[in-house]
């Protein structure tokens, strides 16, 4: 909302308050009027205040380039104010003709959790309370009953004989149940397939978390605490910027990296080469060749979510 619009709205409310005060009113109506007057005063006089700007902020899709610039600056200043770290917030756009795909070789994954830690570092995930996008399930060989597996295995060495390891993160479904569940359209699928969240538009109802069959969404129960030396200054507005309390967050395939040609952080951290990433629309990409030539399967295929995350054996 522009400043003159806000002032105009404020003037309208002030007029209403005047009208109301001129009549005989109840205590309740007087209180309403007084509150309206107070809000009006704040809006009319304090348009440059960050609180008001937060209050009047639009949905990401409605932001103009100018709005974005101002908004990103505000986030950068806010982060600098509490942490002393100069960060750069940006929103790299989807690339034409690119549909992301991820493939994971279960023969090679040995459950070392390097991907989990690299993801936390890259995406500014807090340690207290701890949020991690990737969960590595340890299950018995030959078993598909993941509910009998565990993500909390604590071993001196991996892999444990007789076990296999299945990392699970957001599958960026083509038919995402989480997007359908959102009542405020704070989460949506981008043209390149990544399901993103506008953290400033999320009301924290957690419907999407309940809808996700892969348990891929995380909720910020408290103000996320992150040590300044762990802050990644390369931040994406829809991906790894530091989230406020009471909102949902999730893996975005490191959107701020992959849209600039880089690989996701979990991919680069994997010491066994189990992770493969690329463009599903490109027949020569690694993921397409894996789908064409390997034994590929997807998790919970029967739900019809049509994920972009594939598991294979090779």
């Amino acid at each position: 909302m522009k400043k003159d619009e806000a002032s105009c709205a404020g003037a309208r409310v002030e007029k209403l308050v005047e009208l109301r005060l001129s009549k005989d009113g109840s205590r309740r109506s007087f209180l309403k009027s007084a509150l309206a007057a107070a809000v009006t005063g704040t809006v009319a006089s304090g348009c440059d205040h960050p609180f008001v700007k937060d209050l009047l902020q639009k949905h990401y899709k409605e932001l103009s380039d100018e709005d974005k610039k101002e908004l990103f600056q505000r986030i950068e200043q806010r982060t600098h104010a509490w942490s002393g770290v100069r960060v750069k917030v940006s929103d790299p756009q989807p690339l034409d003709g690119v549909h992301w795909g991820y493939a994971l070789n279960l023969n090679h994954c040995n459950g070392n959790r390097r991907c989990v830690e690299a993801c936390a570092r890259e995406n500014n995930l807090p340690n207290d309370p701890e949020i991690r996008y990737i969960r590595v399930v340890e299950a018995d060989n030959g078993s598909q009953h993941l509910e009998h597996g565990t993500v909390n295995y604590d071993r001196e060495q991996v892999p444990e004989p007789g076990k296999y390891y299945l990392p699970v993160q957001c599958h960026q479904c083509r038919n995402p149940p989480c997007v359908k569940a959102c009542p405020t359209k704070a989460t949506w699928q981008e043209p390149d397939g990544i399901v993103v969240v506008d953290y400033d538009w999320c009301i924290g109802c957690r419907y999407c978390q309940a809808a996700c069959p892969y348990h891929a969404r995380r909720f910020n129960w408290t103000v996320p605490s992150i040590e300044p030396d762990r802050i990644n200054p390369d931040q994406g507005y829809l991906s790894n910027r530091i989230r406020p309390v009471g909102v949902i967050e999730k893996c975005t395939f490191c959107l701020h990296r992959v849209r600039r040609g880089r690989y996701p952080a979990c991919f680069e951290a994997c010491p066994t080469g189990a992770r493969k990433f690329g463009n599903l629309a490109d027949p020569s990409s690694e993921v397409r060749q894996i789908i064409a030539s390997k034994r590929v399967w997807i998790l919970k295929e029967d739900l019809g979510t049509d994920p972009r995350f594939f598991y294979f054996y090779a």
Binding site: L95, D96, G97, V98, H99, N110, G111, N112, R113, R114, V116, E117, P129, E130, I131, R132, R135, T150, V151, N152, Y153, D154, R155, E156, Q157, V158, P159, R174, N175, R218, W221, V258, G261, R262, Y263, E268, C270, P271, T272, G273, K276, F277, G278, N279, L280, A281, D282, P283, S284, S285, E286, Q289, I290, S293, K294, G304, D306, A314
Partner: protein, 174 residues
């Protein structure tokens, strides 16, 4: 119009929009994948390379026998059948070279040519980027690492690793 066709039309009219939306597979004009692939140079596995600095003066003994000391950091040999011997992979004629199963000499810097002479499927996958570590950019130049970056040629199976700590996530403790 028969009753069944009426029913079908009614079902289509009322129910089609409630189902799963058709998937959009708009794969028009994908950008070309970069074919620029570089293989990273690997430092010598042993500090005493080249081997000829010592072995040039020695007469090679091709007879298999029990060795107690190896030149590699991880002492020992556990690769393939137990009757394997040095000169299955090292060249008898030129100790600074390797040899494939067919006897073709291979430089130490190109171990994939030797490894692929037995593990052809892995070599095909590695050349396509499906096996091993890729670095660089998904749509730009890629840096690929050869077999001996990750596998000790004398003990190629991965050693067990120390994992990162387990998660301490709210509601995820079992």
């Amino acid at each position: 119009m028969t009753r069944s066709s009426c029913l079908l039309a009614l079902l289509c009219a009322s129910g089609c929009n409630q189902g799963i939306e058709p998937m959009k597979r708009d794969f028009a004009d994908p950008p070309p994948a970069s074919s620029v692939v570089m293989v990273e140079d690997h430092p010598a596995l042993i500090p005493t390379f080249p081997c000829s600095s010592c072995h040039a003066d020695r007469e090679p003994d091709p007879r298999p026998r029990k060795l107690v000391e190896y030149h590699t950091p991880k002492n020992g040999f556990d690769h393939g059948t137990k009757d394997g011997w040095c000169y299955r992979c090292h060249s008898l004629e030129n100790i600074d070279r390797l040899r494939t199963t067919l006897g073709t000499p291979v430089a130490f810097s190109d171990p994939q040519d030797l490894c692929g002479s037995c593990h052809g499927d892995k070599l095909i996958d590695w050349k396509a980027g499906l096996h091993g570590l890729n670095r660089g950019s998904w749509n730009g130049p890629k840096l690929r690492q050869s077999c001996t970056f990750c596998h000790d040629p004398h003990k190629p199976a991965f050693e067990p690793m120390v994992p990162e700590r387990p998660p301490d996530v709210l509601g995820e403790r079992t």
